[in-house]
């Protein structure tokens, strides 16, 4: 009896949407007729679908077909003229260029065939190497902060509900865990290149740990606490500012 009740209850959304058919439909309808709570839930589900249906149906496209044809033709012409050059973000370019330069410099310095004459000046000076390393470290820190910002913003925005008085934070907590792991590999908060970002990096790590510790379906008030903490510490604003500083 209880099994039949649970099975029918699970089918109610599909019944309300009119996509349940065959024996399942008959069995569910029979159960609903004898179960007041299922009947009530079915009515509520249908009412919600009616409400969504009352939302104005998408109208005609705002331009006539002839204009759309012209637009598609123009777009194809544009593509025919040559591939669209996708410009990578400056920090990505700088990051890769910096990393490539460091690798090239290290390979050059360690090359066995390199002349060992004492008076020869190295092609890449120590200062240049340090500057490149510093740039790479700062780019990586900025990237880490950018990803942390995405995660924390998804917590600060309204996560969708997953249960009564609970919200779905599964993606954010999973991303936090991954980011913490990657962050430990990518960013050295003790390094001199990111000294100015050290307090913020520590705060961000703490915030990510709080999010990572939350369950995927968590009480809304727990998320509210994290949200208030983010607001109180103005963490998102600080991240934005620090990212800009690190990216130069």
């Amino acid at each position: 009896m209880m099994f039949e009740h649970l099975r029918s209850r699970r089918r109610l959304p599909l019944l309300a949407a009119g996509v349940l058919d065959g024996p399942a439909r008959g069995a569910t309808l029979a159960h609903v007729a004898s179960c007041s709570s299922c009947g009530k839930e079915l009515d509520e589900l249908k009412a919600v679908l009616r409400l969504v249906a009352s939302d104005p149906r998408p109208a005609e496209p705002p331009i006539p077909l002839s204009q759309l044809v012209t637009r598609v033709g123009a777009r194809l012409d544009e593509l025919d003229r040559g591939p669209v050059t996708v410009r990578p973000r400056p920090w990505v370019v700088a990051s890769w260029a910096g990393a490539a330069a460091v690798v090239a410099a290290v390979v050059f310095l360690l090359l066995p065939g390199r002349p060992q004459g004492g008076n020869e000046r190295p092609l890449v000076s120590e200062d240049t190497l340090q500057r490149l390393e510093r740039n790479v470290a700062r780019e990586q820190a900025a990237r880490y902060l950018g990803e942390a910002q995405d995660v924390l913003v998804s917590v600060a925005a309204a996560p969708p509900p997953c249960d009564r008085e609970k919200v779905d934070l599964g993606e954010a907590s999973e991303r936090s865990r991954k980011l913490l792991t990657r962050g430990a590999l990518l960013v050295d908060p003790e390094g001199p290149a990111v000294a100015s970002a050290r307090p913020l990096l520590n705060d961000v790590e703490q915030a990510l740990r709080e999010v990572a510790a939350l369950e995927s379906c968590v009480r809304a008030r727990d998320v509210q606490r994290v949200r208030e903490d983010l607001a109180r510490r103005q963490l998102l604003m600080k991240i934005r500012l620090m990212k800009r500083e690190l990216e130069g």
């Binding site: 679908l49 409400l51 969504v52 009352s54 496209p61 759309l68 194809l76 593509l79 607001a231 998102l236």
Partner: protein, 193 residues
Amino acid sequence: MERTAGDDRPPSDRDLMVRLAAGDREALPPLMERHYRRLYRIALAYLRNPDDALDAVQETFVKAFQNAVRWDGASEVGPWLSRIAVNHAIDRYRREKRRRRTLTPFDDEARELPATDQPSPERTALGREVGVKIAAALRALPEKQRAVFVLRHYEEHTLEEIAGVLGLSLGTVKSSLHRAIRRLRERLAGLSA
């Protein structure tokens, strides 16, 4: 030379796709005429913004032309186009979501709505608050659930058709629709009484 009755028949979708695959752009307008309204409805239901929806339809036909040679010939053209439109709408929505989050991290849901959710005559009649909450509830659905719900609710596709359009199993379509309706109920329960 006498024309046969068959000559007067408009070319089928398949004929037009074959011509597109051969690089014949003239085959695009008749194909667009048959499908652009439906694709617009799908994109608008997903994106909730007429300009974005129009862009999605435009890009759908651009991609259809570019990828016509990859169309396998066995599948129906309509669902194939729907799939391109839905995928494009999902991509666009993701980009927009990232952009909005970056710019307005603490904004509430109502303020996150695009300008086009301002009251239209129909929306005014419905009641702006209700319309805004429906839009927010739809927007809060995970991508897959939202796509399944839009295709079922706004386009009245069968579950099998939705599975074909989205490249999902029938079981996944059922569970996604089930979850979408439950989530909408949680969000909209107070309004539907």
